[in-house]
């Protein structure tokens, strides 16, 4: 920055699309994505459910139910407990079931549910994490576009198209919900135990929630969520693109008038989406702030993705010097602010439950504080909140592209860890991610990137005739 800017030279005729490279990238990421997803499914089905007994008698954090049952079995078989090291938990479970039957403690049943789930269950859980991850990125994009229109912001015009494309991708993203919805409609309950007919029979609370938590209504609600998002996303993108050709100011007015209503619909749908797809994994548990929690993480992820996409597009030569340090600085500010907002919301949820200390609420945190999940919880506290807070607090750090790339990547990883931490403790006693989780993540992200690039297709990555474009080009942080 030399301190004062010269007259802005902006050529609206310049090609700001990915041109032929776009199709190439779409093909590459789609193939990568589908291959990884296929591998995840195969590996999940082959290797799933083989959790082993692993040094539980040396560890102070070993699940007490497992320790107790192994001791029982060892006693019954007249063996030393060390003999059971490395044996699959499912094997112990079978012996215990035969020897002791119904006398086994109820904690054992719950433990089994979370440790020896089938490979199909693990695949579904990993897929759900990856799916809610990419959906949240696009929701972050949609939120960004909506608030720009609500506030009639001028500074953000040069980066708004990226968010518009992310938001419009929510329409094809609905397809990725099918691997979750179809098994549910077929009566599957690997993921959502509220669909387990046996539990509906015996569990009063689940039976009571049945009018809401049932596959039919779940599907209808999913259609509503993705319907609203697809409508808002494509409405905003098509209007904005039409303006690229005509420069009609009326289009800006129509986008601005739908934005407040859109925000309201956005708030409701995101809230209930989080309730349905994530909170109902623990159907007994409830937290009114949960939707806001998912939303705040999504905005952090969305902003991080926007920053990375923008820098990448500049490197590809698609965007030139229209996007300046000043715009990155502002995106960095939002990233910093919303990341702290995430911490604020996450802590608000924790504090009330910690304080009230009511078993029906604390159970959800309890399984995230045992068997090594404590480390993941602390990783979120430090890695998602405190370290990035210090990392992004300085103005220089938010104006430096390298630093922004680092923190954006860091926060995207942390956002995934956050969702992993939200989903997996319901299914897995061990906190370690497996190959299935990583393949599912790469797979879904590959498909997602392909869908984003397809939505962008041959169009420009910048609203070239937006009435506030000049304001944005000349934008300067005082």
């Amino acid at each position: 920055m030399t301190g004062h800017h010269h007259d802005i030279s902006f050529d609206p005729e310049r090609d700001r699309s990915l041109r032929d490279k776009g199709a190439q990238y779409i093909r590459a990421s789609l193939i990568t994505g589908l291959v990884c997803l296929g591998l995840a499914l195969v590996i999940g089905l082959i290797a799933g459910g083989s959790s082993q007994i692993d040094g539980i008698f040396e560890s102070s954090t070993a699940p007490t139910a497992l320790v107790g049952v192994v001791e029982l079995v060892a006693d019954a078989e007249n063996q030393d407990v060390a003999a059971y090291e490395g044996r699959p938990i499912s094997e112990i479970a079978a012996v215990a079931e035969k020897e002791f039957g119904e006398e086994l403690p109820p904690q054992w049943e719950e433990f089994l549910h979370r440790s020896t789930g089938s490979g199909w269950q693990r695949f579904q859980a990993s897929y759900l994490v990856a799916f809610t991850f990419v959906v949240s990125l696009s929701l972050g994009g949609l939120f960004f576009v909506l608030i720009q229109h609500v506030t009639r912001a001028g500074w953000s015009v040069v980066v708004r198209r990226i968010a518009e494309i992310m938001a419009a991708t929510l329409a094809p993203l609905a397809l990725l919900s099918l691997p979750i919805i179809i098994p549910l409609l077929l009566g599957g309950h690997a993921l959502f135990e509220w669909n387990n007919p046996q539990l509906i029979e015996t569990d009063e609370l689940i039976r009571h929630k049945r009018p809401y938590l049932n596959p039919g209504f779940f599907t209808i609600r999913s259609i509503i969520y993705f319907g609203v998002w697809a409508f808002l996303g494509s409405f905003l993108l098509t209007r904005s693109r039409a303006q690229d050709k005509t420069g009609d100011v009326q289009l800006t007015h129509s986008m601005q008038s739908i934005a407040p209503v859109g925000l309201l619909a956005f708030a409701l749908t995101v809230n209930f989406f989080a309730f349905d797809y994530l909170m109902s994994l623990a159907p007994h548990w409830f937290s009114a702030i949960y939707g806001v929690y998912y939303f705040s993480g999504g905005v952090v992820g969305g902003l991080a993705m926007m920053i990375l996409a923008c820098l990448w597009l500049q490197r590809e030569g698609v965007l030139g010097d229209e996007v300046t340090t000043e715009h990155y600085h502002d995106l960095g500010k939002l990233l910093f602010g919303f990341n702290f907002f995430w911490g604020y919301i996450a802590f608000s949820q924790y504090l009330l439950i910690w304080y009230a200390n009511i078993p029906e609420e604390t159970g959800w945190f309890l399984i995230r504080q045992e068997n090594g999940w404590t480390a993941v919880s602390l990783l979120l506290l430090f890695g998602h909140l405190l370290i990035p807070f210090l990392g992004l607090i300085s103005r220089q750090s938010r104006r430096n592209p390298k630093s922004l790339i680092f923190w954006s990547c860091w926060l995207l990883v942390m956002h995934w860890v956050d969702l992993y931490w939200n989903v997996l403790p319901q299914f897995s006693v061990s906190p370690w991610p497996g190959l299935v989780d990583l393949l599912a993540l790469v797979g879904v992200c590959g498909v997602y990137v392909a869908l984003v690039l397809r939505t962008a297709s041959q169009g420009a990555w910048l609203p070239i005739r937006d009435p506030r474009l000049n304001e944005s080009l000349a934008f300067h942080n005082v």
Partner: protein, 448 residues
């Protein structure tokens, strides 16, 4: 300045002689420029010439002006960070001192000092200290409030809020040389240049404002002084009620005196030979658990234990009233369940869910090694098993040793229900295999 250099100036721009000593009556040089770009260029030239005590004025903010003037980035964020962190530490320290040291107050077994509970207050204190520091620090670093500014006394300068652009170099700049600054401004394209005379108005706060601040400060000291006095003196005067509500009423409370009655008591003794409504307990066995003897005399006959094989330890002591040995209520399944419910609420915290004297309160007291704690009785021990039901009822009603009576909390029907459940608990620990239903017995045999 030499006369030679003065002649180099255009006559119309030197509106007055530049003083030999820059510190004289001149506080700086002000120049006007035709537009923002010219102002920006001039600022860069002045910066490059090495002046530091400069400022630029325009009707609207000009991007890049900070760099053009060579203004270093402010230190305010660092100050805010440091004070914010101090506020964080101070907030935590304050709560630790108040809650865990000075006035420890245990609430439902939570730790006296634990981080989650203290985060909200700490967070608010960080925000408070940071916001105040940012606001006051901004004022302080800008030298505000400033009662007088010589620039405001320049007639021409008033246009700066409208359409004029000015640049100023202060006389206390280390490089300041009035003549050179004037020349520099002209080279930079100034349309008008002039010295700015020192302000005629006093640069210090007016005495009236100072006085008002002093009075305010003195008034602010009054409440703390009042609190200090109240804490360190005693007083006979009734307390002062801002909002009396219904604190003082004309009726008399228990234990108070009254002039109305001859004996001077506000509380009336029970009239001889009467019973208060609801206090008429005809059935002694039901309400007392024993049959009172004549003239409070101890009953001559000890109630014989129903079970002849009862251990000698259970033999009743002398002077015991005539406890009932049979339930004065109908024993039913629902009474048993009522008893279980009430036992678990009132008795189990100390006596334990199984009545073995191992309730959580007791375990906790033993763990804390409370010196005055008397462990609760094991209700299934032989001495208690041998007690007649009336005695157990009496214990619940009036208490025994350290245990207080529960007559106020538990109505008589429920007390009998508890006695029944205690009997069931005793039975459960001393039953023979034959007394257990077939299906349950099978499970027990397997476990064996």
């Amino acid at each position: 300045m030499t006369p030679l250099s003065a002649t180099l100036l255009e006559p119309e721009t030197t509106q007055q002689d530049v003083a030999d000593e820059p510190s004289g009556s001149v506080c700086g040089v002000l120049a006007e420029f035709s537009g923002p770009k010219e102002l920006l260029r001039a600022a860069e030239m002045v910066r490059d010439a090495g002046y530091t005590k400069t400022d630029a004025f325009s009707p609207f903010p000009i991007h890049g002006m900070d760099d053009a003037l060579g203004i270093k980035s402010t230190i305010l964020p660092v100050i805010v960070l440091v004070v914010g962190l101090t506020g964080c530490a101070g907030g935590l320290l304050m709560q630790w001192w108040m809650n865990a040291v000075d006035y420890p107050f245990l609430i439902s077994g939570k730790p006296l000092f634990s981080l989650p509970a203290n985060i909200p207050v700490t967070f608010e204190i960080i925000v408070l200290t940071s916001a105040f520091t940012a606001f006051l620090g901004m004022l302080g670093l800008n030298g505000l409030p400033k009662p007088a500014n010589p620039l405001f006394e320049q007639e021409r300068f008033r246009g700066v809020t409208d359409n004029k652009f000015f640049m100023y170099v202060a006389a206390d700049d280390p490089k300041y040389d009035g003549q050179e600054v004037v020349e520099l401004f002209h080279r930079a394209g100034a349309t008008w240049v002039d010295d700015v005379p020192n302000s005629t108005s006093p640069s210090r706060l007016p005495g009236a404002i100072k006085m008002a601040l002093l009075v305010l400060f003195a008034i602010a000291l009054v409440p703390p002084l009042m609190i200090y006095r109240a804490r360190h003196t005693t007083s006979e005067a009734p307390r002062f009620d801002f909002f009396p509500d219904m604190d003082a009423q004309r009726y008399r409370s228990a234990q108070q005196s009254s002039d109305l009655f001859a004996d001077g008591r506000a509380m009336r003794p029970q009239v001889a030979g009467t019973i208060a409504v609801g206090d008429f307990h005809e059935n002694d066995a039901f309400f007392l658990g024993y049959i009172p003897g004549e003239d409070d005399e101890a009953p001559a006959d000890e109630p014989a234990p129903a079970d002849a094989a009862a251990p000698a330890a259970g033999a009743p002591a002398a002077n015991e009233p005539d406890y009932v040995t049979e339930f004065p209520v109908e024993v039913t399944e629902s009474l048993m369940q009522r008893g279980q419910l009430k036992f678990n609420i009132y008795c189990a915290p100390c006596h334990g869910l199984a009545g073995q004297g191992d309730g959580l309160v007791s375990l906790r007291a033993i763990e804390l090694q409370q010196p005055t704690w008397v462990p609760p009785t094991n209700l299934i021990s032989p001495p208690v098993v041998a007690q007649p039901v009336g005695k157990i009822y009496d214990t619940i009603t009036n208490g025994r040793r350290k245990m207080s009576g529960y007559a106020a909390q538990i109505p008589p029907e429920d007390r009998w229900a508890i006695v029944l459940y205690v009997r069931a608990l005793q039975k459960s620990q001393h039953a023979s295999l034959e007394e257990i239903p077939e299906d349950k017995a099978a499970v027990l045999k397997n476990q064996k």
